[in-house]
Symmetry: D3
Subunit: 167 residues, 6 copies
């Protein structure tokens, strides 16, 4: 039997973290949903026909953080010890800002968990408001801050606010 071993260059695998130390790790991520004045007014007034938008999006985001390893193929399964999803309303730009926070004592970081929580919270807001405005825009979705692990503390540079971008 002659076996052609496939070139392993470029082949996906879940990297080995067995020998990494268990340290306290945390990550903070953000996303946003920009919508029409009508959709935003309805969300603020709490009379969306499908129900309480932010309460539903918060639960969806928390549950999604726990599904990260099932969604992102090379993510390690992690026993998250804290998940939080918060919202802030920007009246001027009809935008819901989303901030997620995950924490863990573990061998690998929780950036993907925080980003997944923020993304799924955003998708849920889209789902509940899409009857009023299908043209809503999700993003920018990004990591804000990360603590723990070999690299220690990492923080995103201040990104331009919606206001600044317009100038």
């Amino acid at each position: 039997m002659t076996l052609t071993h496939l070139n392993q260059q470029g082949e996906a695998s879940m990297v080995d973290v067995t020998e990494k130390d268990i340290t306290d790790r945390a990550a903070r991520a953000q996303s946003a949903v920009a919508m029409s004045a009508d959709a935003f007014a309805q969300l603020q007034a709490g009379n969306n026909k499908k129900g309480d938008v932010l309460a539903t999006a918060r639960i969806a985001g928390i549950q999604a953080a726990k599904k990260t390893a099932d969604l992102i193929p090379l993510c390690h399964p992690l026993a998250l010890t804290k998940v939080k999803v918060d919202f802030a309303l920007d009246d001027e730009n009809h935008t819901v800002h989303i901030e997620s926070y995950c924490r863990l004592a573990g061998r690998t970081g929780v950036e993907m968990e925080a980003l997944t929580a923020a993304s799924v919270a955003a998708l849920t807001i889209y789902d509940m408001c899409k009857a009023v405005d299908p043209a809503m825009v999700i993003g920018p979705t990004k990591l804000q801050e990360k603590v723990g692990g070999k690299r220690g503390h990492w923080q995103a540079e201040a990104s331009p606010t919606e206001e600044e971008k317009k100038q």
Copy 2:
């Protein structure tokens, strides 16, 4: 026994689509991941250490479309009949553009499935490139087009390209 029935205003429920017609429905959504020159060069050269980024993101996006009803609390479970995730590389802006397409003969639209596929493909690209650039930005994530159902054909207005935004 005196029962206080809770006010049902604003309470979440999965809306009733039992009596909607089964029609051919499709949706197209987009997302993008903007990254540093280094991360982009590595992705293009196919020498990312975690493996083939786009092949992995494509599978992740397709599988995520099938998990939509599990992720988005008020989405109906749907038997998708087609899911596709494509990528285009924008060298100038170091950006991977993602386009997803879902189709179904069913009672409700597949916008959320297309948006979920695009979002999870974007998150997977982030996961595989984050060792090189943790500051990558995901988005804008939005619906491009939707066909079928009561409202028929809907198409997003042309959004400004990255080039246009810079001007």
Copy 3:
């Protein structure tokens, strides 16, 4: 080769519904959580430390209905077209009453989906209030009504209220 075919008497299988008609089916189920005066007061006042108890339980119940075939081994996967979970507060008995409703155009009934939604909503209420009162009691959980299918309409006999039971 001599094969001993195992006796199929009593062996589990998912029954064949391929040839059943697709009809409009619905089911209504109930559960309840009886708790201490303290836990009930905190739930009513909305100052439970883990968050909004009933909003969280409602989402958990709706999502659980969609997981029924994954939880109950012999249940058929069903594309539910409606799920609703409602609550009523019984001040006198410090009890939260839960009512779930599921609907489907399909080949088999949705009783298990309604019962699963009510059960998981009850478990979620327990989870959020257990720091105050670990002795809460869940139940009775039962089917109230079922519509559609070969047997048509079925309705539970009026069950004694909490009041009646005490007499």
Copy 4:
């Protein structure tokens, strides 16, 4: 940009257990399914048409314990080290009693895992016997005992038996 930060009072989050000690934790929960004489006789004789009721319910309960964090929104994902589901038959009252037991070396208790195992075992019994008796009643479902963690040992007060309740 003026952001309205939403009042965080009453908003759901998965509480932070990162700094809790890893201790040996266990929980015991119970549920029950009361059914008609016919359904009970069939279950006892082992000639239920859908298969072996208790073997199926036992597996369903064990698997459900492992899904607890996916079902109950604010539960932490836990790496259970033991799950057991047992049954006892009460001939007089045509009732199947269910007892579940979960154990873990971890940062948070396993009450919800034990309660979820008992609840899903009960739902599975309902599913398999419902063709004979759709009026079966599930419950009371409750925690019996809990060991480990800050509060140490907790035990439910003896609850009245079915016999006692009738008097």
Copy 5:
């Protein structure tokens, strides 16, 4: 902006079955687990320490059939209408033979569902007997028969039995 559209040759997608007819489809698959005399004797006597091997494997196989689209990336989600897993014991070769059967009224075949049921039933038998014999061998796993769809009826050629292979 200059976009480099990636060559779509060879890229994975879930094929479009939207316009296929809904027909009655079924598939039958097989697998087997060959084990040591000791492990086989223990399985036959029903005194395996982890519990009833075949009852557990049967449930695992049925539940796995329902998870097929979640496991196999390009499989369409299907609403199976029948799943069955059966076993036959070959005393001479210390082998458990597994046969699975799935059925559906749908747009695409159920071969993968039948193969997944047989494979996971085999893995479960391995799991429960591995303390006695870690060298057990699973397979051959293959499709036996398939009915429905464009190609109609397909049947595997008679494969050599274990007996025949030895000659």
Copy 6:
């Protein structure tokens, strides 16, 4: 009330590993898919119509390893720290050989995770090539090696190669 406690002999439960030591554990498993010359040529040439067969199977195998406790009823949930799936092509026998490797610092071994990864990678290859050859054969699937735990190192005896089997 007279309770008949069911005989616990032979009843399934997830065994208690709470008091086992956390040690470095690894396992290596194999499977294979034998196919027709045509299907094999298409796979090698990379022009399978459903996409890149091995890239898709590799991701499916990795994701399946993480689902092991959800698929195999009595498996403990494990936080895998490494998963890898590799392929080798045997031109002469038109066979794809699959090797999986899993690692963990934990209380119980990862044999089932490695076997599940190899099995689901094999099923995915079958799925993508079945249009060309529905008669493909999966197996033998077996454990090759296992490290860690009470029993230390275990290695399968050299199994006959395909070549040897033919003689």
